[in-house]
Symmetry: C2
DNA sequence: GTCTATAACAAGATAGAC
DNA sequence: GTCTATCTTGTTATAGAC
């Protein structure tokens, strides 16, 4: 019988080790190409031991996705309707870019899942992502209508923030290949995106 | 012995059928998760027959990538130094967005390859992509220095164009899940991106 | 000789028994 | 934790059809 809710300290530790190893492997290879052997090796345990904690490869993947969905949307949740519009949006951009820098594996895990058509996450896109985006889009739309930021389609503004920030995590190899050595893509991106959104949003 | 250069009409036809089927399958699943069975079924032929034309799964993938690299960079090559700066850049954005709409499979194929660290394409990133981007970045940088567009880091401007346009192909599922039915993401994106870049680039 | 399909193989996968 | 059953994969004979 597999362990559902980790209770003892050793269970918690192994759960975390497996999920971290799986994040490493899934984010590099995608779900289909990843193997339990790789995950087990990365986690430093045998394959059957791994399957004692999670009943299947897919179970690990699903656990990862649902755990990360929350963390991933936190920066968006922090947008306050009563703050300064431009600074609220720029703060969101900064938080999102920081997540790309500090959590590139999580970013790539989601990228893989979405590019493949979200075979494991489609329901949550509708039930979790969409309502949150709609709520924040309303806030942004109100700001635009009140003339506090330039006219903009709020949904597409959010798409733009996602794509511009996640690009530096998901396409890291390409960015570095183009920029060459000795540059800090994320530091440059922070300045570039700050300028971009200030010009775009200025009323 | 496998067929290298298609000579007869039937060879050409089968080559194209295989590459099209492989594009379909690789772009949905990525290289590792895709199987020759799927590609053969999609191409309407048996697996050994497929391997009569390409000597391995990787050979098909490499052929696809190198063929597409050229097409993929054409919109960037079209930027003219002697044109109107804002219109040249906006034209590039439009062409790139149009490619996302008309060639989403190609976009996702590249996305898979890059997200996984470009295991089959790293050399070409350095030898083909980077020199072209550097050349166009010089053009854009000159425009900025001459005050014909707003100050901007040219390389990051190009990254922004890539990410903003390809997002609508690669993350199509997410975009549609958030927007809901009855909307045309690409039509909306065209207007949104036109506004975004006009504001961003206005001198 | 050009092309295609049936059959089989060796490697490696998930999952589970011991 | 070793070991194994079962399945699937990429690839290779082998041999038949245009």
């Amino acid at each position: 019988m597999t362990v559902q809710e980790p209770r003892t300290r050793i269970q918690r530790k192994n759960h975390l080790a497996i999920l971290d190893a799986a994040l490493e492997v899934f984010s590099r290879q995608g779900f289909g190409a990843a193997t339990l052997d790789q995950i087990a090796a990365e986690a430093g345990m045998s394959k059957p031991n791994l399957l004692y904690y999670f009943k299947s490869k897919e179970a690990i993947h699903l656990t990862l996705l649902s755990q990360l969905m929350d963390i991933w949307l936190d920066p968006l949740r922090e947008i306050r309707a009563d703050g300064d519009p431009v600074e609220e949006i720029l703060g969101y951009v900064r938080r999102k870019l920081q997540m790309s820098r500090e959590m590139p594996r999580e970013s790539r895990l989601f990228a893989h899942e979405i590019v493949q058509g979200a075979p494991h996450m489609r329901p949550e896109l509708e039930s979790v992502l969409r309502p949150l985006v709609d709520a924040k889009a309303t806030v942004i739309g109100d700001w635009a209508e009140a003339g506090r930021i330039a006219p903009v389609d709020p949904h597409h503004l959010i798409f733009s923030i996602w794509s511009l920030t996640q690009h530096y995590a998901d396409f890291d190899v390409q960015v570095r290949a183009v920029l060459g050595d000795g540059r800090d893509p994320f530091a440059e991106a922070e300045e570039h995106l700050d300028r971009l959104f200030r010009r775009m949003l200025a009323p």
